[in-house]
Amino acid sequence: LCVKDNRLSLLDIDEMCDEIGINRHIIRFTSTVRFEDPGPAIKTAEKLQNLLTEKLEGWTITISEGNISVESVLIKVEGEDDSTKNIYVSWTNQDEDLGSYILGLLQSMVQYSPMKE
């Protein structure tokens, strides 16, 4: 909330920083989950999207070119068809709760249960 042109305005944090000439410093965390899931990486990503849709009811989850995003959380799957996949989970400091929840969810999924189609 700020005063702009003698009026109270509600700005998002990026607009606010631009207005007052501050370069916002972004802090981002990335962790990796290794997952045995033979097949194309895009298929693994689609399964992850289904899992997240089930667990994060009410959140907007998008997938683009195999990359999943929820707010600032980005999930990228890499790996050859027949090998272990690396799942990179990345989030900004402000989204620590959501990011660490998703990371924990993927870690427990890999550890305890085979992924369903």
Binding site: C17, N23, H25, I27, R28, T30, S31, N93, E96, S100
Partner: protein, 74 residues
């Protein structure tokens, strides 16, 4: 956050939190703080700090606390 962390202070805070192996490698556009025992590195430049953390939630919490103490805020 409105600026890069004070890297020397960040290393001090990390060592205080138990990551005694923290060491800094400086480059042309910033620096990297290595925590090899924790399989973790922190890349710092003028616009962003990116933590690649392969350790558990405890270390991430320590990193967040150290960054909170060393990054300028409004």
């Amino acid at each position: 956050e409105c600026g890069a962390p004070d890297v020397e202070a960040l290393v001090r805070e990390l060592r205080r939190a138990g990551a005694e192996e923290a060491r800094v490698e400086r480059g042309a556009d910033g620096c990297i703080v290595h925590l090899p025992r924790h399989d973790t590195l922190v890349h710092v430049d003028a616009h962003a700090t990116h933590v690649f953390c392969e350790a558990g939630a405890d270390l991430r919490l320590a990193l967040r606390q150290a960054l909170a103490l060393t990054v300028p805020t409004i």
